[in-house]
Amino acid sequence: MLAFVRIVLLIGLLAPTVANAVTPDEILKDSALETRARNLSRELRCMVCQNQSIDDSDAPLAKDLRLLVRERLTNGDSDRQVLDFLVSRYGEFVLLRPPFELHTLLLWAVSPAVLLIGIFALFVMARRRKTVAPPSPPLSDAEQRRLSTLVAPPAVDR
């Protein structure tokens, strides 16, 4: 289902185009810049697509954005500046990893919080159990003898 619905959604939006994202003519000569451009592309959303980065998408808009990213990088922008520029132009929607802010607090904080609460709860439970069930005193001689008769033929527990 995952792939096939995904594909259906994709097709609905990108109809007869061909799945081929980055094209040879886009690639920068400077390989360090190109690597940065690719890394940035993976962080940016193609806004007309279904949850695709501009690196994966073959939509015309994604191509424009890829070129834009490369243009800014060649003009000497830092990665941060490129992202800020795109956010100022398209809004936060363009970032595939939302920034940590008030309105995304729950998104970022829920699972670490739950993990910590879980660990804490288990810790408390383990301690409570310890206090409820104090270590039992060692067996008396009579008990020890009774035990050894009980276990005499080595019992096998499957």
Binding site: M1, V8, V22
Partner: protein, 658 residues
């Protein structure tokens, strides 16, 4: 006539379902054996009628009966037979029919194989199962009728979406649904236990095989979907953290947690309430997944609101079942007796650790998938949550989980000795450390983290083998004894080791993608491109004609060290019926690594753009999931799970205590 028969069979299944949803449960309250036994017959007959209904739709597809709207929209007379058959479920209505087919199949299987269940439990389980079935029969009959006729039958259909014309459609959705829907049995068992107010270790023993079977199907189903997307979508990715994928990952994570907590419950009678909750959650997440995919809410919150019939219906099912189940849980669970004390460092403790991390990972995916929808619905703000977010939040949860994995099976029940286990894992840790060192030497410092991933994968693999070696006494005892011990080892122990080995294989494959190489170039005929020690020469374009498409393929000869080793023909197919085209990537498998080649646009100067990848060890990602499934299968065949099977009288003295 056939579509009408199919439609009518579905209505009859609904009628039977309504009987099954009420009468046996009334019987269970009044201890009326006759009323309770009714459930077995209705469950079997429900399956028969749904199967008839499904067969009717299949016949419509195979015979290209375009008077049926659903067939007209999703089929074509020129399509190969296999795709005519698979297109039965390659659309919304048909896939929902497949959903209820599998649901009724599971119901019938409980009726058939549940002979050893207490009568009241069986009646209640089948009753609850039938509530779910009725809700989905109604959903199909009221909002998604696949048998709708057209007043005037068109001559030709509109064809199945070309990307779905692939063997993937035959395998992936049925397996995925077997997994999704299989969790309904665990859900029904949980609700039945809550209704009866009684739950014990035997309950876990009955639920485990069903959960295990569902989990196996889901594991491979997800993996096959991933492989399908990998070769079909043309950019070589295998997991996109797409909401639709997340929808299947969430039940998998919850189901994996359920499998592990059910072990604790079965062996030690502990974690009862938690196991019940997980059983409810696993299927609830399956329902949420169905809702996400089927309602259109993913495309946009607004399209959902503009065409609400289906979405609202599924949302109602969701609220009714999840809300109802959790309310019942909150009301009845505190009355259940807890049992089985254990120290934090113990097998139980390790499984609790597993559960904590798996459920948190599941929650992370859940929040990441639904948060943007919720935010948009409440504040109209739009944000994107994609792969970078999930990679950052999911990995930190999975790494400790993987690291703890070899420890779990080696720890003793009740009170374990973590240092002793660490000592026994020395060899495995050594293997991991050597792997890290070797990876650094071989691959250099290009990635600082990836070699540790390799080390972790090797540690888990070696840990799984250590577990087996310890139990059979390998290297300590004479070979004959080892063989005897190995034969006497419970299959579930083998299953654990094999499944853990499998997930380590998947991890290994994923980490290796750090060193995948990529070339994006424009090539003219006779030009050569090199990647990872291979040379690919572009020989020229070739034309092919398929049954319902025309194909333009680029022929490449692959050489390794000057010796030709194969031919790759990536292509573009154009389908006249829909006026659409697909790219078909070419794959060349070398061991478990692959060369991946897909075509881009042709340029004016006669060159053609190609994307070429070398993906080292990539097949391990999916082979790992197959190994996981095999592990599940071994565990499923354990005698312990076949209640009432006679125990062999001999040899037991030689078998190791577990």
């Amino acid at each position: 006539m056939i579509p009408e028969l199919g439609h009518y069979a579905l209505v009859l299944a609904l009628a039977l379902g309504l009987i099954q949803a009420t009468v046996p449960m009334i019987g269970a309250r009044g201890r009326d054996a006759a009323l309770m036994r009714l459930a077995s017959s209705t469950a079997s007959m429900q399956f028969v009628f749904v199967a008839l209904s499904f067969a009717a739709l299949t016949i419509c597809y195979v015979t290209s009966d375009f008077s049926v709207a659903n067939v007209y929209e999703n089929s074509h007379s020129q399509m190969p037979l296999i795709y005519k058959f698979t297109s039965t479920w390659g659309n919304h209505e048909g896939s929902m029919l497949l959903w209820v087919l599998i649901l009724s199949l599971f119901g019938a299987m409980v009726a058939q194989f549940g002979g050893n269940l207490p009568e009241t439990l069986k009646a209640n389980v089948l009753g609850v199962q039938s509530w779910i079935a009725c809700a989905f029969y109604l959903f199909i009959l009221l909002t998604s009728n696949p048998f709708l006729r057209l007043a005037q039958a068109p001559l030709e259909g509109r064809d199945l979406n070309p990307i779905l014309q692939d063997i993937g459609l035959a395998i992936h959705p049925p397996l995925l649904y077997l997994g999704y829907v299989g969790f309904s049995i665990a859900f029904s068992f949980a609700i039945a236990a809550l209704i009866e107010g009684r739950i014990d270790a035997a309950w876990a023993r009955w639920v485990r095989p069903w959960t295990l079977a569902a989990w196996m199907c889901l594991t491979v189903g997800i993996a096959m979907g991933s492989y399908w997307a990998y070769y079909e979508l043309g950019w070589g990715g295998f997991w996109f953290w797409d909401p639709v994928e997340n929808a299947s990952l969430m039940p998998w994570l919850a189901g994996t947690a359920l499998l592990h907590s059910a072990v604790v419950m079965e062996k030690r009678n502990a974690l009862k309430i938690w196991t019940l909750l997980l059983a409810i959650l696993a299927f609830s997440l399956s329902l949420i997944g169905t809702f996400l995919v089927r309602s259109g809410v993913l495309t946009s919150v607004h399209t959902f609101a503009s065409d609400p019939a289906r979405g609202v219906f599924i949302l109602m099912i969701l609220v009714l079942f999840i809300g109802g189940a959790l309310t019942l849980f909150a009301w009845r669970a505190p009355m259940l007796k807890q049992g089985g004390l254990f120290a934090p460092i113990s097998r139980e403790g390790a499984l609790v650790f597993n559960n904590l991390f798996l459920t948190t990972a599941c929650l992370t995916v859940f929040v990441g998938t639904l948060y943007p929808l919720a935010l948009e619905a409440f504040t109209n703000e739009k944000i994107s949550v994609g792969a970078p977010f999930f990679n950052l939040t999911f990995a930190p949860l999975f790494i400790p989980l993987m690291f703890a994995m070899p420890f779990g099976p080696l720890l003793a029940w009740k009170r374990g000795d973590v240092l002793g286990v660490a000592q026994r894992l020395m060899a495995a840790m050594g293997a991991g450390l050597i792997a890290i060192a070797v990876t650094f030497v071989l691959m250099g410092m290009s990635s600082v983290l990836a070699p540790f991933g390799i080390g972790l994968a090797l540690f888990v693999m070696a840990g799984a083998l250590t577990d087996l070696a310890e139990r059979t006494g390998l290297f300590r005892l004479p070979l004959a004894t080892v063989r005897m011990r190995a034969a006497g080892l419970p299959r579930s122990t083998w299953g654990t080791a094999v499944a853990h080995f499998g997930i380590a294989m998947t991890l290994f494959g994923i980490v290796c993608q750090t060193w995948a190489s990529e070339r994006i170039v424009a090539l003219k005929a006779t030009q050569t491109v090199a990647i990872a020690g291979y040379d690919l020469t572009f020989d020229g374009m070739v034309q092919h004609t398929g049954p319902n498409f025309r194909e333009l393929a680029a022929k490449f000869t692959v050489r390794s060290g000057g010796v030709p080793i194969g031919i790759m023909e990536p292509s573009k197919r154009s389908f006249a019926s829909r006026g659409s085209s697909t790219t078909e990537a070419a794959l060349l498998t070398r061991g478990v690594s692959q060369l991946y080649l897909s075509l881009g646009d042709s340029n004016d100067d006669g060159s053609i753009a190609v994307r070429l990848y070398h993906k080292p060890m990539v097949l391990l990602i999916w082979l790992g999931s197959v190994v996981m499934m095999l592990g599940g299968g071994l565990s499923l065949s354990d005698r312990r799970l076949r209640i009432g099977a006679p125990k062999p009288a001999t040899k037991s003295a030689l078998q190791p205590a577990e």
